[in-house]
Amino acid sequence: MNRVKPIKFLIMMSLCLAGLILASVFIGPARIPMNDIFEERFFDILKLRILRTILAVAAGAGLSLSGVALQAILRNPLAEPYILGVSSGAGLGAVMGLLLLPISGAVSVIAFIGGLITIMVVYLLARVDKRILPENLIIAGILVNALFSGLLMFFVSNSSSAKIHSVIWWLLGNLQVYSPGQVLIAGAVVSAGSFVVFILSKELNAISLGEEEALHLGVDIEKIKAALILAVTLITSVIVSMCGIIGFVGLMVPHIARRLVGPDHRILVPASILTGGVFILSCDIFARTIMAPRELPVGVITTLLGVPFFIYVLKKSGKAYFK
């Protein structure tokens, strides 16, 4: 696959995203007849769809951006937003919330806290000699992921079948809007986090050459890594706590964007944000309409559409996979 002109790509993707945002607001299982547009029902539906669209774009952009940053920091092509254990920590929190608490609004708060605690544990485990080594982070992430998944299974295996359904629905990843406030928080956190990652683009370029290389280019690697990991953790925790575990986006989008615009993070970061938004919005429109009025969890679609598409892209380029 040949690289495309970065500016052209960014403009094209922005237009695509704008089109999909409109589509996402106006397409859905509930029809809005034209003669109803001044009725209250219309505004309720519209409001819900706008919120859902914001959540979708925030989730797609945030997960893709986190994938880009983590692949560079950890220097690992398999890195994705969940690699450091945020998903299992938040998942454990959410499941405990769903199973043990009567109110559903608190679930995302507990999930968010679960995600943050996990990352702190991983960070402390990976810290040796006041330094955070990428390999240590990955191994600590895998360990904590395994432990928390085990605990999660323990809780699930000990609960009633009625509750298991809501747990599984949550784990599959979906974009249901629980409250407008939450959506706005997600939007704000993802925007702020994206800004931090974007202004550190040139440092990400340096770090992607290796930590010692970055150091020799005058980059204070430990500080930059800490800032990036914090930004990525907040983004991922917020998204996971509201949308559950939307799979594959954070792994696939960075790879596709990198193939299209190259590895320069000053372009790659905005390119991934846009591509992530476009991808997840398309998946969500699909998830809402394919079996309407029933709705599929968007995580199912991202994986079912994403995997074949990713295989196609990899095969078409005909090079080593990680190029």
């Binding site: 220097r75 040139k202 150091l215 280019l217 005058g218 190259g262 320069d264």
Partner: protein, 258 residues
């Protein structure tokens, strides 16, 4: 230019370099030689602030290295590490431009000046024709040139190299050193390189630092350092040292053990 004063250094409390003192003059080409495990790379990494010394002090242009901010260091010294691994397929010119990071502000979009410096750096290593190629498509020799161009676009006063000829055939080895010598002569760049090949070191360096078990055994001109008694003692190998009839530089020949 670079002064070590009673420096000891190592990793995780294990001392590898002990009590090392030397001075490198501006414009010198210095080779660091010694057997495996003698502390050559540790010395290089200590000199470039990749590791913090346990004791002693290092001065770069008469300022204590510990007190110079990283960014400022990156503007006066560049380092070509061994086996730079590129995870991402950068375009050559983009990679060389990364050498301008220590000078960039904000988001770091390069100016015309940065681009000019990067192109000059490629030119000075005879690699201008590679500028639009991808780094993963290059041969080892070409890659090494590009990596050196990246280092040069930092506009350093001193260039450190860790075994720059490790994967190169003799033609490319000679080319590499001819290029480094040219840079040294034309722009007064101080060059400090870790080398395994004693004969290359002898041929191209003004001065050699021979390390043995974390200490400096001897520092001086190749003629003084490559003495068969010293080499046999440090490398625990029988050798014959003869001068190259063309350049007069000493060369080391191995002797088959009986």
């Amino acid at each position: 230019m670079l002064t070590f004063s009673k420096v000891s250094s190592g990793y995780n409390d294990v001392e590898i370099l002990s009590d090392v003192s030397f001075n490198i003059k501006q414009g010198a080409v210095v080779g660091i030689i010694g057997p495996n495990g003698a502390g050559k790379s540790t010395l290089l990494r200590t000199a470039t602030k990749a590791i913090t010394p346990f004791g002693g002090e290092i001065f770069l242009q008469n300022r204590s290295l510990a007190e110079i901010p990283l960014k400022e260091i990156a503007r006066s010294m560049a380092v070509v590490t061994q086996d730079t691994a590129f995870m991402f397929p950068f375009k050559v010119i983009d990679l060389v431009l990364l050498g301008r990071i220590p000078y960039m502000k904000g988001l770091g979009f390069e100016s015309k000046g940065d681009l000019r410096i990067a192109l000059e750096a490629l030119e000075s290593v005879d690699a201008s024709r590679l500028k639009d190629r991808f780094i993963d498509e290059l041969s080892s020799g070409e890659r090494q040139r590009v990596i050196i161009a990246k280092a040069l676009s930092q506009r350093p006063k001193i260039l450190f190299l860790d075994e720059p000829t490790a994967h190169l055939d003799i033609c490319h080895q000679v080319e590499m050193f001819r290029m480094l010598t040219k840079l040294n002569k034309e722009s007064g760049l101080t060059i400090v390189s870790v080398l395994h090949d004693l004969n290359l070191a002898s041929e191209y360096c003004d001065e050699l630092i021979l390390l043995s078990e974390g200490k400096i055994k001897i520092k001086g001109a190749p003629k003084e350092v490559l003495n068969y008694r010293i080499i046999e003692e440090v490398y625990k190998t029988l050798v014959i040292v003869k001068d190259n009839p063309l350049t007069g530089r000493p060369h080391v020949f191995l002797v088959k053990n009986k």
